[in-house]
Structure formats: C-alpha cells, structure tokens
C-alpha cells in the first residue's frame, strides 16, 4: 500500500470537484425555478394552493437530503420507476433547494411592508405589475444574503450524492486516501478545494449585506 500523490490523483480530484460544481449548479437552476413557484404558491390568494404547498414544504423540510436521495435512487426503482443517478441527484437537490429557498423567498416577499402593496394599488398598477415592479425588487434585496448563505451550504451538501454513487470532491478524496493512506494532507486538500469554491460566494454575500438601503454605491451614477 501507500505510494505517491501523482498528477493522475490530482486529475481525479479535479473531476470530483467538477461534479461538486456541476451538481450544485444543477441544483440551483432547477431549485431556483421551483423556489419561485413555491414562494408564489405559499402566498397565493387561493387557500387550497396555500395549504397544499404548505404541506409539501413541511414534508420535505422534515426529511434529510440523504433520505430524499435514497428515496429517488433506490426507492423509486424498487416500485418500478428506474431513475438514472444524475436525474435522481438533480431532482432530489431541486426538491430540497426549491422548498428551503421557496420558504426564504416567501418570507422576503412578506417582509416588504403591506403599505408598499397599498401604495402601488392606489396608483392603479395591476397585481402582476405590483408584484414585479414594486414588491419583488425589494424582496430580492432582502433575500440575497440568506440565499447566498444557503448556496454555500448546498455546495457542501452535494457530498451526500456520493451515497448514490457520485464520485464528487469528498468521495474522490476518500478513494485516493484508500490507496495512499495519507488522510491528513489529502483531506486538507479537499477542505481547501471546498473553501476555494465557497469563499467567493461568501465574499459576495458579505458585500451585499454591507450595502444598506437602495442608494447606489458611492461614486456610481444614479
């Protein structure tokens, strides 16, 4: 056993990191669309839509991402619905992200003062115009820091996809360690790679948080 860390190990890790990024991106794309729908359903004027979406949100929030992955990858084929791994991982992440972000965004929409709706209403704007021109721009501003924070968390959570066979960053490190038996340097390298992926997002979040109100950053033209 043992041996040296070679370029092919590095390549292996790189491919793992690529999967981590790919799974995260896939999760956010579908999850973001789903989240928007969840947020709108949760504040819908129709009671049935509000209640139904509320139940789904409760169910998903009470289930670990790992179990959702198992359900879609092992559970569905067992009842005759074969699901390829990428679809299982993508769909599970979408569901998980959609529900959590959806709730965050709903709260952000509801955090915009009622008076803003009223003022827009009194100017004869339609419901859709009020939503897109007045409420959502303010909600986006409120939701940005928690959304970025959640994205960082998801990037790290994609390591759970290794449980259904994905060799993403964490799993790639584990496999290399199995042959090299150098856990400390290898997992330090893994941690550093996660950090390199997440840090820019954290920075972005802090910059957005530091910006208060809606006035442009100093020096920018209005």
């Amino acid at each position: 056993m043992g041996g040296h860390f070679t370029f092919s190990h590095l390549e292996f890790l790189g491919r793992g990191a690529l999967w981590t990024v790919l799974l995260s991106a896939l999760g956010f794309l579908g999850g973001g669309v789903l989240a928007f729908m969840v947020a709108l359903c949760r504040i819908s004027g129709a009671r049935i839509v509000r209640v139904a979406s509320g139940v789904i949100v409760q169910l998903v929030q009470g289930t670990p991402l790992l179990v959702i992955l198992f359900l879609s990858y092992f559970g569905l084929p067992a009842i005759g619905v074969p699901v390829p791994p990428l679809l299982a991982a993508g769909a599970s992440l979408n569901l998980y992200i959609g529900v959590y972000l959806g709730e965050t965004w709903r709260a952000a929409i509801e955090a915009v003062p009622r008076a803003q709706w009223e003022a827009a209403e009194c100017l004869a704007l339609t419901r859709v115009q009020r939503m897109f021109r007045v409420i959502l721009p303010q909600a986006v501003h409120i939701a940005t820091p928690p959304t970025v924070g959640f994205m960082v968390q998801i990037i790290k959570s994609t390591s759970l996809a290794s449980a259904i066979g994905f060799v993403e960053l964490a799993r790639a490190g584990q496999i290399i360690n199995n042959s090299l038996l150098e856990p400390f340097p290898i997992f330090v390298l893994i941690a550093a790679t996660y950090f390199a992926i997440c840090y820019p997002l954290s920075r972005l979040s802090r910059r957005l948080e530091a910006r208060s109100g809606f006035a442009p950053v100093e020096g920018a033209a209005p």
Binding site: P113, A115, Q116, E118, A119, A120, E121, C122, L123, A124, L125, T126, Q129, R133, V134, P137, Q138, H141, G213, F214, A215, P216, P222
Partner: protein, 243 residues
C-alpha cells in the same frame, strides 16, 4: 361633473367585534376641500380608506366620481385612476429614484413613453418644489421632501380627487409647513380633496367643509365656522382639547 364627487351614505364597517364606522354620511362637492377631524379611533382614517376601497364596507353606499365603490364587482383600477391617495408614512418605493417613483404608474398604467412620462414628472416635481430632486433616492430626502414627492407621484396620475391620510403626522412642525403649503397650492388650483388631519388651524384656513367624526359617525358637518361655534358638546370638547 356637477354633482358631488364623493358620496358616503350610511356607511358601516367593523373590524371583528369593533364597530368602527357606525352610519357615516357626507358628501364632497367638486373643487372643494373637506377636512375630517376627530380623536384617534373615531374612524376618520377608516372612512378615508373606504373611499378608495382599501377597506370594504359592511353596509351603506359609497359613490366616487360615478363609481359605485360599495359594489363588490367594481373594477378597482378604474376607481384608482380617478382617486389619488397620500399616506402618513409616504410609502415611496425605496428601490426607485424620485423620478422613477413618479413615472412608474404613468408608464405602466397609462402607457406613456419615457420622454413624455419624464416631462410629466418634471412638471409635478416643480409643482411641489422638488425639481432638483428627480434623481435622488427616497432615503436621501427629508420626511417633508419624501411626502412632497409622494404627493407629486399621486398628482402625475391626474386624479379627479385626492385623499390625504394624516400626511403631516410623521413630520416636525417645520417640515409640516412645507407639505401644507403644497396642499394649499393644490386647493387653490381647484383640486377636490379629502383630508384626515390633526392640523386644526390648517383645516380652518383651507377647508370648505369640516367633518367631525365621533363614535364612528359624522357627528357634526359644516363650514369651518363650526370649529368656532360647535353645536355639540363633543366637538366643543374636542376643539378645546386640541387648541
């Protein structure tokens, strides 16, 4: 339009067990200024909000510019095109500049082109004395300036009647003055206005009609003279307590 612009007939409104409006009736003539006065909780703001259907009434009838406001099937947007509303807390849109605040509805609702809407905005900003603040953000303005910008935003939709809901209550006396001057100017130009106010001196000076609300009713209605010679002990007591 020769008849009244706003008509309230025996309007009732409850919030849960609390009977806020208990048969309110009054009318507003075109080009006139009506000041609604009264204690907190007398129902004055609720009455005003019912005129623009921000609240639905339980019984009675409200007619505004020919729209039957109490009709559940009313097309709200048609009503809102004729009625302007200014709030105590300004409610400017914080993510838009003053100019964008004003041009939003003319562009979205009346489909004006950008140039046309901005010319309109400049005109109404000039009217409220904020010509130099078009590109400012709401948070960069004082309370008085924000309220004047909110009035300009409402004016840009060219309403037939304007409603003012305690628009100076959040301002200190100096800033109150600059907002009241704008409203006074509007009155001089013949704008029909209904205002809920605590500014008794102002009400006496520019109002054509005073509506004193008490216990959910239009307790006493008349020209500003009723403030000097109240018919009811309740108005006498109220005037005594605020002057």
């Amino acid at each position: 339009m020769s008849g009244p612009v706003v008509i309230l007939r025996d309007v009732h409104k409850s919030f849960g067990p609390i009977h806020v409006l208990n048969g309110v009736s009054f009318e507003v003539a075109p080009g006139s200024v009506t000041a609604i006065i009264g204690r907190s909780g007398s129902g004055k703001s609720t009455a005003l909000r019912c005129i623009d259907r921000l609240e639905r009434i339980d019984a009675g009838e409200i007619v505004v510019c020919g729209h039957l406001v109490s009709d559940p099937g009313l097309v709200l947007r048609k009503l809102r095109l004729d009625v302007g509303m200014v709030f105590q807390s300004y409610n400017l849109f914080p993510h838009l500049t003053v100019l964008q605040n004003i041009t939003l509805a003319p562009r979205m609702v009346k489909r004006l082109g950008r140039a046309e809407a901005e010319a309109l905005a400049e005109r109404v900003l000039g009217q409220v004395g904020l010509a130099d603040k078009a590109y400012a953000w709401p948070e960069q303005l004082s309370g008085g300036q924000q309220q004047r910008a909110a009035i300009a935003r409402s004016l840009a939709m060219e309403p037939k009647v304007m409603l003012f809901d305690e628009v100076t209550s959040a301002l200190d006396p100096e800033l109150t003055g600059e907002v009241l001057r704008v409203i006074e100017d509007l009155a001089r130009r013949g704008m029909t206005m209904v205002m809920v106010t605590h500014e008794m001196g102002f009400a006496r000076r520019i109002a054509d009609q005073i509506v004193f609300m008490h216990e959910g009713r239009a307790w006493e209605i008349g020209p500003p003279d009723i403030l000097a010679a109240p018919a009811t002990p309740d108005l006498r007591q109220f005037v005594g307590s605020v002057l």
